[in-house]
């Protein structure tokens, strides 16, 4: 318990330290764009692949479970759409990104720590945490909603193609379901979750990387801790946000 409180306190101090006045604003802006490419564009293929197959699986499983003759077949479209928009794209895709992006951030910053590159920044008078971490957080907060929207589109399209190719849900029924009872607020809710999760998947691994102490073994441990803790936090905040916003 004392250790958890210590970690929470140190994490809070770490987050506070990110917001000192930047040494040179233009360099931070350039870093943000670079990170947007690294975090977002670099993850697109993985997001596209995961979304397409998950969309297909959600559609086929929904059709398999909706066997009641009272439930029309086009309901599969509604279930697939809402599952993808509310839960799959913002939560599962962000969990996938927590693995890819989180381990990358923790190992990059952890390696910089153990090879004294962070000390070199500090010696120069640069706020190392702000310079290394803040651009990543801002970039993730900007680019992750775009990635999640892309995931929603690909997931829903994947479900459509799988349903049609397998003959489980004809195109007409699926498209009818997609357009039925659509709540635009679901997308807003998904975006709120995405922004919170984007903050978690960048700040938590960065925190673990920044406080790495030792060598290659500890860098690996920091990377693992970063991914595990950010994944757990995503699930906890998923519940909290759902309770706060939808309940």
């Amino acid at each position: 318990m004392a250790n958890t409180l210590y970690e929470v306190g140190r994490y809070s101090s770490f987050i506070k330290s990110l917001f000192y006045k930047p040494e040179k604003f233009s360099i931070y802006v350039r870093q943000v764009f670079r990170e947007m490419v690294n975090l977002g564009i670099g993850s697109l293929w993985l997001v596209a692949l995961t979304s397409a197959f998950m969309g297909a699986v959600i559609t086929i499983q929904s059709a398999y479970n909706l066997v009641n003759p009272m439930v029309p077949l086009w309901a599969v479209g509604i279930v697939a759409r809402d599952s993808i928009i509310i839960e799959f794209s913002p939560t599962i895709i962000m969990l996938v990104l927590a693995g890819k992006v989180g381990s990358n951030i923790a190992s990059e910053i952890g390696t910089m720590r153990v090879t004294e590159q962070i000390d070199a920044l500090e010696i120069m008078g640069i706020n190392s945490s702000g310079y290394l971490v803040l651009p990543k957080i801002i970039a993730a907060i900007i680019i992750c909603p775009v990635v999640v929207i892309v995931s929603m589109i690909i997931g829903i399209t994947g479900g459509w193609i799988a349903g049609d190719l397998s003959g489980v849900v004809p195109s007409a029924d699926y498209l009818k379901g997609l357009q039925n009872q659509f709540l635009p607020f679901n997308v807003t809710f998904a975006m709120i979750k995405t922004v919170v999760f984007a903050f978690i998947i960048t700040s938590v691994p960065a925190y673990h990387g920044y406080y790495t102490n030792g060598g290659a073994l500890e860098v690996g441990q920091s990377s693992t801790k970063g991914v595990v803790n950010s994944s757990i936090l995503i699930l906890i905040f998923d519940y909290i946000l759902t309770q706060l916003i939808l309940a």
């Binding site: 000192y20 040494e23 040179k24 360099i27 390696t111 910089m112 090879t115 004294e116 590159q117 000390d119 070199a120 500090e122 010696i123 120069m124 008078g125 640069i126 706020n127």
Partner: protein, 250 residues
């Protein structure tokens, strides 16, 4: 000049530095020597502010560095150049970008001016045609020289070197020592080197501070070492048979 005034540092229950006082003089090569785990790296890190001292103070030309906030320290930090043991070059940047990095952060120099400055600094450390290479593509000795070029890019008043010869062959070690000596004299800077390399101690050590069990045990020059009666210092410096023979012949 840097004055270290009665500083102490401990980690948990372990006292690593105890009431250390010394003066690092301008225009001279100041060495901190001592065995592994005796506190010399902690002393250097306390002086540059990577560790906060528990007691005492560090003065940079009369400015009390220890009592300054992060923001207040920035102007002094821009006067500091540091050569780390492994070079600490930024992996993702080319050699030229590494050298121009502090210039990009703290000056309004144009790209051409920064390139000229990088070329000047790299030539000063006898490196040419490496500007576009990544640190992973150059040798250990070259990394050290690039790190020196980066350290002098901002015309520092204080140069810190943490074991500059570790992992280098004897010839390259001598080259790095001579380079540091030349730069110190040329720019009249306060240079502090943390080392346990006896070649460095004997060849360029103008002022030497010996740290033993977290305390300053001895202070003098490379000539004084030969006549020292300090048992701990002699055990450390003249540990090898060859060095013992040198002392006997002296």
């Amino acid at each position: 000049m840097i004055e270290v005034d009665n500083i102490s540092k401990q980690f948990g229950d372990k006292k690593v530095l105890e009431d250390v006082s010394c003066v690092f003089e301008q225009g001279k090569i100041n060495l901190i020597i001592g065995g592994s785990g005796q506190g010399k790296t902690v002393l250097m890190k306390c002086v540059v502010g990577l560790f906060e001292v528990d007691k005492g103070r560090v003065l940079y030309d009369g400015r009390n560095f220890s009592e300054m906030s992060f923001g207040e320290r920035k102007p002094i930090r821009q006067e500091i150049g540091m050569l780390f043991q492994g070079g600490a070059l930024f992996d993702s940047l080319t050699v030229e970008q590494n050298v121009t990095f502090p210039l990009s952060m703290f000056t309004n120099m144009s790209a051409a001016e920064k390139r000229d400055r990088a070329n000047f600094c790299l030539q000063r450390v006898n490196l040419e045609n490496v500007n576009k290479l990544l640190p992973s593509a150059i040798s250990g000795g070259m990394k050290k020289r690039v790190a020196i070029a980066r350290a002098i890019a901002m015309n520092p008043k204080y140069l810190f070197c943490d074991e500059p010869n570790s992992g280098l062959d004897p010839k390259t070690s001598i080259l790095i020592d001579e380079l540091i000596k030349e730069i110190t004299e040329e720019y009249n800077i306060t240079t502090i080197i943390n080392t346990h390399d006896m070649n460095t101690v004997m060849s360029i050590g103008e002022k030497i501070i010996f740290i033993y069990k977290g305390k300053k045990y001895w202070e003098g020059s490379n000539n004084d070492i030969m006549h020292s009666q300090n048992q701990e210092l002699n055990d450390f410096v003249f540990a090898s048979r060859w060095m013992k023979a040198v002392k006997q012949h002296f």
